[in-house]
Amino acid sequence: MRHLGIVATWLIIFLLVGLNSAGDMLTARAMRRVGDFAELRRKAGILGVARAVLTEPWFYLGLLAMGLSFFSLLAALSLIDLSVVIPASASLTFLLNLLGAKFFLKEHVSRRRWISGMLVLGGIVLLRT
């Protein structure tokens, strides 16, 4: 670890994880409101799909969060070691997304999805250590 203290390191990682997860959840909500692209394209053509996405306010919120998380990743990488940032942010984002899918997006996170989620989460931790 570089000169940064433990508190500052985790604050940056939590900021990154929060923005990353917010980007995923807001984008997912936007696309749920837009609806299935394949069906939209049949009805309104490819321009209809583009128009539906570009007129969806949640899409811009998601894009903003994703953009901010990209720059906080760049900032994190210049302050904290890669081997700390990537595993910590990947596993925490995954966990937060799973919780967000259930409570914010109101998806039906079935037992099958929880088990898969925990397997994948464990796998991420093992792969990145």
């Binding site: 984008t27 692209f37 994948v120």
Partner: protein, 140 residues
């Protein structure tokens, strides 16, 4: 689930994995950018590797949007972590990196989790008075 949908999931994995690889390759060529020269970042896309990385990340983003239009986030997420497995396998077979046992176990766990989730329903089905919305596949 149609071939196109699996193809889009594969594009998410390939786009994000290789996009990051080319971005990192390009940024390594450019070298460290000091805070006083931050505007050098604006010219980073002129580097061919960075430009190619951005194209791949755009492919990733468009397939991500399309996939989220028909599947839940809690379905797409585990499926896309398959990129980590791909990176580890590439590191082993193409770059000859040593992959320790714990990492092989991680690879097996992610693969098992992904296989398990893609076998289940892809979208939360909301019942309506007419039954379920027609495009929502309960069992693809």
């Amino acid at each position: 689930m149609s071939f196109l949908r699996y193809f889009l999931l594969a594009l998410i994995v390939f786009g994000s994995t290789f996009g990051d690889v080319y971005l990192a390759k390009g940024m390594n060529q450019i070298g460290e950018i000091s805070p006083s020269r931050w505007h050098d970042l604006l010219f980073a896309p002129l580097n061919p590797y960075v430009a190619f990385g951005i194209v791949l990340l755009m492919i990733f983003y468009l397939s991500y949007l399309a996939s989220l239009s028909w599947a839940d986030l809690s379905y797409i997420m585990p499926a896309t972590t398959f990129g980590y497995v791909l990176t580890a396998l590439l590191a082993h077979f193409m770059l000859g990196e040593h992959v320790p046992l714990t990492r092989w176990i991680g690879i097996i766990m992610i693969t098992a989790g992904v296989g398990f989730i893609t076998g289940g329903p892809s979208l939360t089905v909301i019942p309506t008075p007419e039954g379920v919305s027609p495009h929502l596949e309960a069992h693809p």
